[in-house]
């Protein structure tokens, strides 16, 4: 066991980890953050996406111990006490059914909108190409992001 200190959703956290424990497992099982999901557990599905220092990564492919001192952001950290406008758009447009992929999708979309606030449909598709959804057929997800980014004032 080694002591790991990192920032999770801007809060300084310390936790004992084995080197082989993934960031996903540590977030879910030791730090109590349940929005990152374990889908494929091999980096293909995107359900475990979180941000490390603002960049989306597959938390199932990162050993927690690699993250000493880094800023980890999960969906809990993005929404805080209140849903974001993007999340509201997802609800409005029925952009999920089972919801398992949604945290990863929102993480990925958040990263995209950070550096490209008005993406085209193609840019959204490209950005989300690593997030698998088995319910929606993707169209309502893309529509929600487009609706959100073309709203007045945005």
């Amino acid at each position: 066991m080694a002591k790991l200190t990192l920032y999770v959703n801007k809060e300084l956290r310390s936790v004992e980890v084995e080197p082989r424990e993934t960031l996903l497992d540590v977030l879910r099982d030791k730090l109590g953050l349940k929005t990152p999901k374990c889908g494929c557990d091999r980096g293909d599905c995107g359900a475990c996406a979180v941000l490390i220092d603002g960049k989306s990564v597959r938390s199932c492919l990162v050993f927690a111990i690699e993250c000493e001192g880094q800023q980890i952001t999960t969906l809990e950290g993005i929404s805080g006490d209140k849903l974001t406008d993007l999340q509201e758009a997802f609800i409005e447009l029925n952009s999920f059914q089972c919801g398992f992929c949604t945290p990863g999708v929102i993480i990925t979309a958040t990263e995209l909108l950070e550096h490209n606030p008005h993406p085209s449909r193609e840019e959204i598709q490209e950005a989300l190409s690593g997030n698998l959804c088995r319910c929606t057929g993707y169209t309502p997800i893309i529509e929600a992001i487009l609706a959100h980014t073309t709203k007045e004032g945005k």
Binding site: P19, V62, Q125, G130
Partner: protein, 295 residues
């Protein structure tokens, strides 16, 4: 989950090299980890030591200059994609980097890690093979510059010795005007491994450099086809002669992603469309590589 390992996060190159000297093939270098984490979790690899080089000094750096391109071991595919000079001047390299999986993988995965993993479908290889890149390694006993054509030995086997660290990869800027393209056929866009990949570099001297991946045990240049079409005007007759040579250049297998026959056929299609597309790009026409094969 498989057994544990010692984790090291050295800050200095000398520490990396002494760890490698000590652990030899019982150590694995960790950069992005997008391959290594899977191998460890699925029990395919059981390293005693994992040496994380992300915070080691001297491995950073993506340098694009008049001399050429240097890609340090810590350079991620996202950094390559975001680099304006790579996008502007090295279309083949940019296409290759951009075709790797998806954003969440590219943010983490490194080009050097890709050539060290050396799976046959690796997207990084065609650009490096066409540009005649050199792999720079160092160990406690000295440094080596290894030609990319001597680098790949077999699936997941390279010329790297157990105690060697790859510092980076470089290639010179071609002396004459050039353009390039990388065509990747996946079962769908994004995230998939290549069923077949073809990189083409075209120069002002009407030289074509062609490199296939995912259709043989190691990625390889298609020298017979290069020889056939060098300096010539491309017409239907020449293209059909070139297509006829494809089966001599590649040796695809049947696997979960497609059959040998399909891969042979698609390589011919990719060759034909790729040559046409690279010529159009050379003439200044904007060509989005992902659309050349449709889908």
């Amino acid at each position: 989950m498989s057994g544990g390992f010692e984790y090291y996060q050295p800050r200095q190159l000398s520490e990396v090299l002494s760890l490698l000297e000590r652990y030899q093939d019982k150590a694995r270098i960790l950069a992005g980890g997008t391959d290594l984490a899977v191998y460890i979790k699925e029990g395919i690899e059981h390293p005693e030591a994992v040496i994380d080089i992300k915070r080691c000094a001297g491995l950073k750096g993506l340098d694009v200059s008049e001399q050429g391109v240097y890609i340090g071991a810590q350079t991620t595919f996202s950094e390559l994609v975001a680099h304006p000079a790579v996008r502007m001047d090295y279309a083949l390299l940019w296409d290759c980097a951009h075709s790797v999986a998806s954003v969440g993988i590219r943010n983490r995965a490194t080009l050097v890690g890709n050539i060290c993993s050396a799976v046959p479908s690796l997207d990084a290889a065609p650009a490096l093979l066409c540009h005649d890149a050199v792999v720079h390694t160092v160990s406690a006993s000295g440094s080596r510059d290894i030609c990319i054509h001597d680098w790949f030995r077999a699936p997941r086997q390279t010329a790297r010795q157990a105690d060697e660290l790859v510092l980076g990869v470089s290639f010179p800027k071609p002396a004459v005007r050039f353009s390039g393209i990388y065509l990747k056929l996946g079962r769908y866009r994004g995230e998939d491994l290549a069923q077949a990949g073809l990189g083409i570099l075209y120069t002002q001297q009407r030289e074509y450099r062609l490199a296939f991946c995912a259709v043989g045990p190691i990625p390889t240049r298609a020298r017979r086809i290069e020889q056939l079409i060098k300096g010539k005007t491309i017409d239907a007759e020449l293209l059909s002669q070139a297509r006829a040579l494809v089966a001599e250049e590649v040796s695809p297998i049947t696997d979960i992603r497609s059959s040998r026959e399909y891969r042979l056929h698609i390589c011919e299609v990719m060759l034909q469309r790729g040559i046409q597309a690279v010529l159009e790009r050379y003439d200044g026409k904007p060509i989005h590589a992902a659309t050349v094969l449709g889908g």
